[in-house]
Symmetry: C2
Subunit: 689 residues, 2 copies
């Protein structure tokens, strides 16, 4: 897995040859370049929406979004993930590529697409059987059957195994009766519910003959047409609008209450369990818990989609901030003109590590989408592949959406007042993406799932976030077992530089060695996982309440998941770049590989020092090297953001990219390199703080 | 300055006696409790606005805000900062207390108040003379003369010395002619400009007889009443609406262009410079630069206000998140009920250090307001006090507003989907406060000013952010001079624990010693400042371009300012708590003092290790201690947020605070302590990651 990148790493900054943005874009777009271009064309066609939304009332905005969703559905953009026999594209990888590219545009459109085709359509596809597919998928794919995914309740968003809505089988009528037992069991935040949805996939506790079989999914009509042809709530269904939200006003989120709503027995989505007319329940999966988590596990595509959307929304922010920083001048510099923002060291430090991270996450997301494709197209059928997929999806969803929140914020601040105007897109980006860290799984809960998988070698069900389960499982495993299971340990002998070097001059040695960087990330991963396991075991062994043990060790557990994801992402990035042909693009990406690795090591350098794996001098050298890498990336920052291929039409931001930039100065054109590249002298002031 | 708090610090968690929220609130409200209560009453009276704004169109919202501003003006709430002879309250400290308390409510109202009374009114008060005061202040104070503060231009927000608008004296007519020479010189983001303002204080380059005298302030009528009595743009004034913004829709930000607008000579705000009818310019301040920066320096109240507003907006978020976390349950715990969010270690780690920081910043803000009061009421008249004030104001504005951004984000995420609904207030808090980091000085530029003051002992003008000036000044100062000037060094001998201890058992020793905590913060401040100075000097000495030197060292320079502010804030907090009588409130605040100190030391523990001031074992002990402090603060978290005195009516957030919390469980009442307090065993699992 570990491999050097195969490019000259000691090239002086002035030897950096600018990469060709188009060639870089081909690398990023990869296998699904045509799919992405289709989405780009559709985004451009509907780009006007971006400028209109602030002045649309909510219902008009929602209807505009629906119209656009239906129009792009007609181009095939939203149907890639469905089987060809029902009108889909039969290519799950393509559906992810299409979805994440859609994040360049209005995010209400993105989320509406996610609700209709990903959540609702995905549930029918994954949890239903042939008769559901035949009845619903064609209409779902062409956007004529609109539906909701009604899982979350006000009382339960993360712990969905404890949902309180019930579906009780009535053998007399061959029907299920769906019921909201109390107000905390109302379905909440449900997309497509407040205005457009006709059907909902409702998750409810299945009760038969007084016995509960756990949570199952049912198709429930929530709206019917009245005599005038208007959609009205179905009998027994109460619908409330969630009202104004922080963002995503174009999505009609609502609440649902069911009061004795009767649905035919066939409306149980019965891929994993059936109920006979006589009321006999049967399932190939014996354990109710496993059955539930298998059900949930099939919906992993939603997490892959949201993570990808976060990463791509971050790209839009990066494009705006880098292009602004390349044009905007402020305060006197050497010559007559004021200094470009991007020539300030602090500005480089703020933006360029985030740019490297965006690239790394993009590549990791590509790998994840390929993994999803392999599992869901049946190329890989083993349980281990599936659990690895679920883990990577959970982890990358958390990491990618937090990256979006942080990047959009930093880029907005870097664009000053102009970034605060809605015309700049930051307003919408920030407000719309905010909930990405919450929906499709709260990020902390997701990282906890990842950690549990690592700690227990996926002994339990991946999706089960029950912390007692985790504590008990870990307590029952021998420590060296846990250590052995982390893939990290296998390559530990490649950490060349485990001990502080004595000689001052050698502090920098090997910092730009990809193997060293990966070895450091692997070492940390292994150590944090095994020390978390030790603490959990020790707590249980000492007789402490497992809940108290878990509570105390929880931040450590989550740190383990983060360390794991850091390593997974960087390995993906390294592998991708190593496989490229040498040239300016590979060299440019090589800089980003270094910057992303050292950015992570720098951020956790306290841990490396605490663990005796890095000397103080070495730690300072890491900081200097990050500084130096920022300076080396700066001259090619423009090409790096151009390569994202965000259509000019969706950038808007006239005050950021337009003519009003400096007082009378002609706007800076192109990518003039900064003047701060004085090799040797640079070294001399670059002493760490 | 340094002093121990005088409370028993080794009390076991179970001995924590809950403080009385009312008593704590009295401590926080301090001298201006009555002023704050007046504002609270006004907030409650207008609390309906919070629920209405999402459905108001922009112009209606703006008019509602104006009406409220005028109504609260009638209560005296907004006039405290003006002289009594013109109808004000004659108490600058009271005006800060009133303004920052206003941040509990709708922030468009806050910013509109800031524009009208702080920026516009403040400029007339500080830069004008008696005739301006007599003519304008009574109408400004009662809200009948509405005005704008027109400084920022599209091309210049941070470097305002380079503004391009001109005011040319025409001796023939005894008038100034105000001109916008090009589009980048339009005034931009100007509050009160798009709809309500009749006057503007316009900052422009004063030209007389072909000579430029630098930037001065002028009163320019921007609107006049037409024959029908409607306000229309004054002749020669073009006004454009900035349109939709990320937040603060209730503030009418606009752009202004001036095309040969003539104003009487008397409209020059002439406190620092006059122009005679014959066109002779005179000023008591000879240097044009110093004149300009003196002018700007008088406007420091704006920064004090915004920083305080950020800190108080953060309180609202903290109240919501802590109260939600005390009611919301998720996932199984020991007993039958699910676990309260606030009993999760990760949740404590997310919220409670921010709570400690909020308290510390509140106290530092109180000190700053007192400093402002002392300088502007004439109690302190020396230049050094004024520069210290300007430095503290700049630093606390940056730190306080970043704290708001971060806290609101963390608290929103901690409230899940319910936090995303506009009903929860997070939407408005997040969108409205976002620009706080930018206006009244970009935070990074402000920290640069702070650092420059520290590095040069305020040798230049405090407000001058010119980096060349800084580099040159620093290059000319002997290093030990710089070191001597930082107050930090004076107490270095109190660092007891400069070297790593050998014995394992002693890693924790003294961590809860206030003197030790302060000594660590002081040591870091001194070292970061002096090493930044060394790097700047070395760069210049080596013949590097000063711009390049500055660019490279800039992140280090900004880190110096941060280290300085950390120390200033903690010293203020310590001093305040030390002065309290012993009791549950002092003990509770003592926990926050420890948590805030160790939070900062933990965050920068890599630096302390790099500098040889902390061993790896000690560093791990710091982390354990922060964990332990979070557990100790947890049982009193509710009282600590109740003490902020945020009126229930402005909290809204029915889904966060209301009845819908858990599936069928009765909502948790009061402040049941977590069950994770098993003293000894806790120690055993609390090994660091």
């Amino acid at each position: 897995m570990a491999t050097d990148l195969g490019v000259a790493r000691d090239a002086a900054p002035e030897h950096t040859v600018a990469p060709d943005p188009a060639a870089l874009q081909r690398i990023l777009d990869g296998k699904y370049a045509e799919v992405r271009d289709l989405v780009r064309r559709n985004l451009v066609e509907h780009a006007d929406l971006l400028g209109e939304v602030d002045d649309l009332d909510r219902e008009t905005y929602r209807d505009r979004v629906l119209a656009i969703v239906q129009q792009v559905a007609a181009t095939g953009q939203t149907g890639f993930g469905f089987p060809e026999e029902h009108g889909g594209g039969g290519d799950i990888g393509a559906s992810i590529a299409a979805f994440e590219t859609l994040a360049f545009g209005d995010l209400s459109v993105l989320v509406k697409v996610g609700v209709q085709f990903g959540l609702f359509g995905g549930a029918v596809l994954q949890l239903g059987t042939q008769r559901h597919h035949a009845a619903y998928l064609p209409g779902i794919i062409d956007g004529t059957i609109l539906g909701s995914f009604a899982m979350t309740e006000s009382g339960h968003g993360s712990n969905v195994q404890a949902l309180a809505t019930t579906a009780t089988y009535d053998v007399a009528t061959d029907e299920f009766v769906v019921e909201t037992p109390h107000d905390a069991a109302r379905k909440d935040y449900i997309g497509n519910a407040a205005r457009h949805g006709e059907l909902a996939v409702v998750f409810a506790q299945l009760h038969i003959g007084g016995e509960s079989q756990g949570v199952h999914a049912f198709i429930v009509p929530i709206r019917v047409r009245d005599d005038a042809g208007e959609l009205v709530p179905a009998p027994g269904v109460r619908i409330e609008d969630c009202g104004h939200k922080m963002g995503l006003q174009g999505v009609d989120n609502g609440r649902l209450w069911f009061d004795g709503v009767r649905i035919p027995r066939e409306n149980l989505l019965d891929r994993f369990a059936t109920v006979s007319p006589a009321g006999v329940y049967s399932s190939e999966i014996e354990s109710p818990g496993r059955r539930f988590f298998t059900t949930i596990g099939t919906l992993v595509q939603g997490r892959v989609s949201v993570g990808g959307a976060g990463i791509n929304a971050a790209k839009v922010a990066m494009v705006l901030a880098v292009r602004y920083a390349e044009r905007r001048r402020q305060f006197e510099a050497t010559g007559e003109q004021e200094e470009l923002l991007l020539d300030y060291g602090q500005h480089q430090r703020r933006l360029l590590p985030l740019l490297a991270q965006t690239y790394a996450l993009h590549v990791a997301q590509e790998d994840l989408a390929a993994e999803l494709h392999a599992v869901f197209s049946g190329e890989k059928t083993d349980g281990r592949s599936r659990r690895a997929l679920e883990s990577h999806a959970a982890g990358l969803k958390a990491v990618g959406t937090w990256h979006a929140t942080r990047t959009i914020q930093e880029c907005r601040e870097a664009c000053g007042g102009a970034g605060y105007l809605s015309a700049s897109r930051f307003a919408a980006l920030k407000a719309d993406t905010d909930v990405f860290t919450t929906f499709e799984g709260d990020n902390h809960v997701l990282l906890q799932l990842v950690a549990k998988g690592l700690l227990t070698d996926y002994a339990g069900d991946f999706q089960d976030a029950d912390q007692f389960e985790m504590v008990k499982l870990v307590a029952g495993i021998a420590l060296d077992e846990i250590v052995k299971r982390t893939r990290a340990h296998q390559l530990l002998d490649r950490v060349r530089d485990l001990l502080p070097t004595g000689a001052e001059g050698e502090d920098e040695a090997g910092l730009l060695d990809t193997d060293y960087q990966l070895a450091m990330l692997r070492y940390r991963e292994e150590q944090v996982i095994s020390s978390a396991a030790r603490r959990l075991k020790r707590g249980v062994d000492s007789g402490m309440n497992p809940g108290a043990v878990f509570s105390q060790v929880q931040p450590h557990v989550i740190a383990a998941a983060r360390a794991h994801m850091d390593r997974v992402v960087q390995e993906a990035f390294v592998a991708r770049v190593a496989g490229l042909e040498d040239g300016p693009e590979k060299r440019a990406l090589g800089l980003l590989v270094d910057l992303n690795a050292l950015r992570m090591i720098e951020a956790d350098r306290a841990w490396f020092m605490e663990s005796g794996r890095m000397s103080a001098a070495r730690s300072k050298a890491v900081r200097r090297e990050v500084d130096a890498l920022c300076r080396r990336v700066r001259p090619i920052a423009r090409q790096l953001v151009d390569a994202f291929g965000v259509p000019e039409e969706v950038l808007r931001a006239p005050d950021l990219l337009g003519p009003v930039v400096t007082a009378g100065d002609p706007p800076a054109v192109g990518h003039e390199p900064g003047h701060h590249t004085q090799g040797e002298t640079a070294e001399r002031v670059a002493e760490s703080a």
